[in-house]
Symmetry: D2
Subunit: 136 residues, 4 copies
């Protein structure tokens, strides 16, 4: 595994995460936490948070957790269920946890919660592990 | 159903789609097509298009198709499989098609393709239809 | 909610569960546990447990948990990830837990484990709640 | 690719498919069709076809299509949406079609239809391709 600080440094290169104001808070082995303050640009046409913004927050956190072992790992499948709407001014937090891993595949659960700790979305992701090590 | 022009007008309110440069091309009953030119801000840390950008394009197109009947409809579950990487400078096109619909639920398939017509991602979405009509 | 014994009685009518030897062990509000001893008829062509048998065990347990409130509830979407093979002679256990619920929809996670407690599959199910009460 | 007759022969070893009366009708490269006449043992507690029976039919057909290239291939993730109930006496047909394939992963869509051609379920499956060839 890379050092948490190395992982954080590496993920500063994620342009979409930066563009949406996503902040990486914690990294561990197979684990990550990020947050996103809800701004105007995260909203859909009915003024709730866009599914795409929720997905991006969860997907970014999943990417950090799945790449934390230092092997280049890419998402191949995601299932996301949306439970509750969220609104401008609040903050969403995504917590990604590795469920199982083998040399080729890893499975991760990401919970996205609002300021009350209510579940906004559940994300189940499957990632494929390449042969390459992450180059810092 | 609303007129295609009314739907297009309504979806100009989607802030995230606008922020990411997503353009709605076509709307029909249970059908929609959008595109997104890949810019720097759509990329992840390894310079391929971020899953969150692909998802947002597909999710927006799904929202247009599922709201095309004039009833407020929200995403409850999405499954997305990522097949192929895409890069800056190309354009992604999402085509959403209704598969089945009943008074409460609709199911949609969205294909995301690149400039060669290769499949970048397949998105299967389920939407819940509320009682309210869309107000234009 | 119905009494756990009423729910157990009601689910004795599940013909496929009976045909596959699935046994309901526990029922609570939004919660259920079942098991299935792996027999010859549960196998696929390469002598591991068939995905269909694992799914049926998980789906049955999900149905019990989601119907435990006494309202007729039907599966609308399931995502299942398969992690590890299982073999004849072992026993699989499925544990279903409600994640969120509202008047129309419920979301459930089902873990399927083997005799070592290893995760064989993760199942995420979404159910639609009808207006009818379960008739015992 | 193996000959269609070889594939059909190989899948006669699928015990669960045989136990549920599933019949393989057609095999092609990345393609398969099967059917299942709905019997008493396929039903759930409310006398509609059990999700587990529908899933098994679709999963078997997916397995045939994904193994049709002659390489041992296993399911890693499935998303299934249930659209419509089906009843005893009818026949369900599953049609599996390869969507994309690379050396390690394949993606398949399976439609399950009833006697009227109505869609009962849509199944999207992802399979992992091992190094081993199928031994006939």
């Amino acid at each position: 595994m890379l050092e948490p600080e190395q992982i954080k440094e590496f993920f500063k290169n994620d342009k979409l995460a930066a563009y949406l104001g996503i902040e990486l808070l914690e990294v561990g082995e197979g684990f990550a936490v990020s947050k996103m303050k809800i701004e105007e640009e995260h909203l859909n046409g009915i003024n709730t948070v866009h599914g795409g913004a929720i997905f991006t927050l969860a997907d970014f956190t999943f990417a950090v957790a799945s790449n934390s072992h230092g092997v280049v790992t890419v998402a191949i499948n995601v299932n996301i269920s949306f439970m509750k709407a969220a609104f401008k001014g609040g903050t969403l937090t995504a917590t990604a946890q590795e469920v199982t891993i083998n040399p080729k595949l890893g499975t991760y659960t990401v919970n996205v919660t609002d300021d009350n700790g209510d579940l906004i979305a559940i994300f189940q992701g499957m990632a494929y592990r390449k042969r390459d090590k992450i180059k810092i």
